[in-house]
Symmetry: C2
């Protein structure tokens, strides 16, 4: 997905938020904003928006080293999500279409991000996602692809959301590789977060090597790329992965909630809509 003009002020806001979350001093954050501001002119609108997030994180690491500013918050999200897990399993168990319910649950988990950290909101959103109409609904294609697939490559998104992903992975009934980022970036799921979410019991965890909060193929490692290129079926969770991969000719299914106006515009849906979209 290309970058929109509206993404540019948002980049600056993200740099500010992340600098603060990382505990940087005001003077360090000003220097970060100076650097990011000066880089805007080199940033092409044909680039994916998360490529700027990658640049922002690289600058932060230059200043304060490799850290995981959202570690505590991620742990909290995982704990809260794990406490919902028995209820999520029960919801699937008693539903008419178990796979579809698990897909809805996985999308519901996509609400978990830095801005939303209350159990009540996670729960309220869950109830909504279980009943909400899909704005894009390529479910038939999804079922057909799943039936034929020998295995599934599952691109994770946020920590905590990963517990909701586990519920879907269990319903896929295929061998799954669960993909995490190469290093901590925003509140995206890392290997340790995936293990803490119980993913290890249902899937092999592999790293994409990406340092961006998205799957940007040119930033990924060879091992991941060979799996990506040979996969029968790929499930891509969340906005960042969609921004990085939209336009792909691979058998990717995007599962996400449209959480900003720009993504909604790109998909031709409304903000807040839920999406199950086949890339091909």
């Amino acid at each position: 997905m290309k970058t929109y003009l509206d993404c540019i002020p948002c980049f600056m806001q993200q740099a500010l938020n992340t600098g603060r979350a990382a505990g940087m001093e005001d003077v360090q954050i000003k220097a970060l904003l100076d650097t990011i501001g000066a880089k805007i002119k080199h940033f092409k609108m044909q680039n994916n928006p998360p490529e700027m997030a990658n640049i922002i994180y690289k600058e932060i690491r230059k200043t304060i080293g490799q850290i995981d500013p959202y570690k505590d918050l991620k742990q909290q999200h995982i704990r809260e999500s794990l406490s919902l897990y028995p209820e999520l399993k029960e919801t699937v168990e008693y539903s008419e279409d178990k796979l579809l319910t698990a897909i809805r649950i996985a999308i519901a988990g996509n609400i978990i991000d830095m801005g939303v950290n209350k159990k009540f909101n996670i729960y309220k959103n869950l109830v909504r996602s279980l009943n909400q109409e899909f704005a894009i609904f390529d479910y038939l294609k999804f079922k057909t692809a799943l039936q034929k697939a020998r295995s599934v490559l599952y691109l994770g998104d946020n920590a905590g959301e990963s517990v909701f992903d586990k519920v879907l992975i269990e319903e896929l009934r295929k061998p799954v590789n669960f993909v995490v980022r190469g290093i901590p970036v925003i509140n995206d799921v890392t290997k340790q977060d995936a293990i803490d979410s119980g993913i290890e019991k249902v899937a092999d965890i592999i790293s994409s090597g990406s340092t961006a909060p998205a799957t940007i193929l040119k930033l990924c490692n060879k091992r991941f790329l060979s799996k990506f290129n040979e996969a029968d079926m790929i499930i891509s969770k969340g906005q960042g992965n969609f921004e990085g991969l939209s336009g792909t000719d691979k058998p990717v299914f995007f599962l996400l909630k449209a959480k900003c106006q720009i993504i909604a515009k790109e998909l031709g849906v409304n903000e807040g809509d839920i999406i199950l979209k086949s890339a091909v």
Copy 2:
């Protein structure tokens, strides 16, 4: 008032909004954002926030000449406000404290900005402002200063709001100089807007010479500066003028609604609060 880190993404958003309002092409707006982004590193946090708006407008004028992108919207706000004028006058007439009611009305007019252009909202906000508690209320000082003043220097803010200002000017019962910006900037009141609002009938209209959406003394002309320095009493409307003048040792009274979190923080009030604050 100094600039906060939070103002920086907001500068970029304002540049984008204004570029769009000015009818610039996407590629021109990208170039504008590139330029503004690169200027952030030269922008000191000790500067007033509207100094950046001044830089943004200067860049826009370089690209597309001197224009008044909000002209139609300003005319609409003036028309809508004029249609409320008889009701405003009646509200003052039947109130217990006419001066205070007129102050409340002038502050109510401060809601008119680029984002709020519906009569309904203007009206709803008016009703609210007439009943809302002041978060800062230096009314006694205001009355004392007014009693002693030979004349009042009144720093206008937005077009349309100027009609609400007229109601207060009529209750001051002193000779008034109503100050407008030097050139069109955002939806700030210009000389023609002031005339269209009927200000000419109740005050002398003078220009501050400022090209920023605020009274920034170093950008003002000599005639204004001499009036400012010698004034017995100065009424400063809105956020921009507050941002430019806070910290002054002149007899300024700030009348405004705190419309963003940063201004609210600076004033020690909540967003949405109304303020009557003496500078000294």
